[in-house]
Symmetry: C2
Subunit: 458 residues, 2 copies
Amino acid sequence: MRYARILIIITAALLFASIAASMEEGSGTGDGPSYTIDFLWIALILIIAKLSSLVEKWGQPAVLGELIVGVILGNLTMLGINALAPIGTDPIILFLSELGVIILLFQIGLESNIEEMKKVGVPSMLVAIVGVIVPFVLGTVIIGPWLLPGLSQNAYLFLGATLTATSVGITARVFKDLGKLHTKEARIVLGAAVIDDVFGLVILAVVSAIVTAGSVSALSVGIITLKALVFLIGSIMIGQKIASPIGKWLSEVHTGVGMKFALAASFCFIFAYFAQIIGLAPIVGAFAAGLIMKPVHFTYFIEPEVVTDIKEHIKNHHDQQAVDRVIQKHSHKHVEDLIAPLGLLFVPIFFVLTGFTVNLATLFDVKILLIALGITIAAVIGKVVAGYAVKGVDRKIVGWGMVPRGEVGLIFATIGKGLGVVSDQVYSVIVIVVILTTLMTPPILSFLIKRMKTEAPA
Amino acid sequence: MRYARILIIITAALLFASIAASMEEGSGTGDGPSYTIDFLWIALILIIAKLSSLVEKWGQPAVLGELIVGVILGNLTMLGINALAPIGTDPIILFLSELGVIILLFQIGLESNIEEMKKVGVPSMLVAIVGVIVPFVLGTVIIGPWLLPGLSQNAYLFLGATLTATSVGITARVFKDLGKLHTKEARIVLGAAVIDDVFGLVILAVVSAIVTAGSVSALSVGIITLKALVFLIGSIMIGQKIASPIGKWLSEVHTGVGMKFALAASFCFIFAYFAQIIGLAPIVGAFAAGLIMKPVHFTYFIEPEVVTDIKEHIKNHHDQQAVDRVIQKHSHKHVEDLIAPLGLLFVPIFFVLTGFTVNLATLFDVKILLIALGITIAAVIGKVVAGYAVKGVDRKIVGWGMVPRGEVGLIFATIGKGLGVVSDQVYSVIVIVVILTTLMTPPILSFLIKRMKTEAPA
């Protein structure tokens, strides 16, 4: 009964959006280029994404629901419904989607802590190294030549390179959805994913150079690696140093919540920008920015509304200590609270769009599907064994946390296709591997995390 | 000393952005079309906009600071600094700017109340009518032919039509900046601006029809008016009816803060979308959406974090009534709190961009400037007398609240230019009128509002 009603709402929302999208836009006082249709898309994605959180009632993380409704929306064309197809290529929606994943990683950085991350530096590094080497070797010399015989050596190189990728967004969301971001497993995976992005950058440069020039110099590999490391370490060190004085200076202009928000958001966006400039994923920059934003940088800012409110209501009890505790707690939380609504708006757009770009038609070619299944198994094994590189944690969770290839794998494959090394067939295979590793991770990871939870008290 | 430091920060931020913007984007793992430069622009706008709130120390509303830094950033090309010029035409930034003003009007709608708005229906209507007729007559038959002799009758018609426009964004921000949204004056101006938008739609259609077809039928005028009224009244009535059951249904899926946010944001975006479809400004739809979002629609949602927090800290005092009061207060405020960070991010983009598009070079032609000054005086008089259409309030505040022409005036002029009626000379004049009415309103309105405040207790 309850679910029937929700199905009716979903159908109504889709019908409504389809009709609305097919209406021609009025002229009237429209100012220049009209982005109005994007407001409809955003509203539709928001509502459908929230309805999909129904999956939580069946013990699944909300992100799985968003991915699935994305897949459904993106494949409605198969049923002849084309009204929503423009969503997938709308530049505004693509931007908001990127904004979404950047804000997600910034939030996750905010909830993390640089000292805690340093503690898992060595295990993260081990997981990243094993999680790069094993899938690369499997793809390049074992599973690749076996399942896709007769290709050039360069094609296997690219396949192997693709399998080294890790898309941290999915895993981070699962940990966040289940409230497990503070576990050691989550921190190891986050650290390993950041390191994996540096490796990925180097691997992509090396493989591309081998394909185009036939070889690669140690010097250029060294330069790429150095640039990435200097950015990551340098930005974190400099950021930590300058965040506090900048916060102090800005608080002299204005002590309101707006300035605090502007400071935090600017750090996030500037770090994301420079990460991209250096060749890393922008989300790595956003995560780093979140890591260095400590509450201490905001002590110069007053939180007028919350504080006044709480003070007013507690002061009659003459318990100054209680008042202070509440204020303390709220001012520490506040940056995260200010960023949270941005996450509510934009993060679902990223995951729905990730699902949206999944082309179910690729699954219909049985031969390609079977090859892809084989390579998916290799892709999973390659990352799951990486979890066994560390001790003292639930290794399966760490390993599965590295499994999703997401958009990072697709970028590798697309570059390979552009270089003429990755054939249409191999590209389709990679797309399926990306789909499967991305969609299978949330339920499996969620199962493993819950099992850990129930085992703990035993 | 303090201001010197801020000037250093502003200069550093600009230098930094200029250098960053002139850097070429790295390739690396960049995914498809790169929007990364937009993150830099957003960060720059945010920081510069917040620094500009320095104007508050001199008693000016923050919006004036945002407009001024926008003017400065947009005219740096005069000093040979071209690195920031792409901001003005960047489609992403233009979208975020539109998103900003939509969120602003949604926030203002949320803070307003439909019953309170109904109470000022008659005065708002009077202000709107006088504020349309007087500037139209002044522009078409008095000031236009006097200062710009020898033009076609149609050119004067368009000039008059342009002067009827009201851009509510500036005024609404001033009232909001000064915490005066709940005054009767603010409500009258908001109501009049919405009605003015309906009039503007009709006037634009009529004037365009006269220019292109030589005449206009009463029927088509009636249809346009009817469509706009049916949308406005219909959407508010239907929205009020369906918001509560939809809220209840959605809360069955999920009672978290995310669903509440999705519900509110979707209403905002869908209303903005349909307003634009009907030919009204999207901000009129967003304002209407805010008006109908009453706390009662959210009573099905739990506010887990805030409530738990406060409960925990007060329960030891055994004052259940105090606990309930705090919870009540917080749950009523929560939708506004959820939307506020979106406003912090996007609203400054709108105002900085509004300033950005001001081309100071137009002010250098002395003859055009003088004509524009004359027409600006007429434009101001035409709206200020509209304030005298009502009694029992500070009429000057109401009148001045209607003065800014903003982007609405520019749209009229641009359409007239497209129809070949508005010459380059007249267009330049209109641009200056828009600039002056937009920039002069915040300080004058702020002065009037503060005077009202100090007079009240006397």
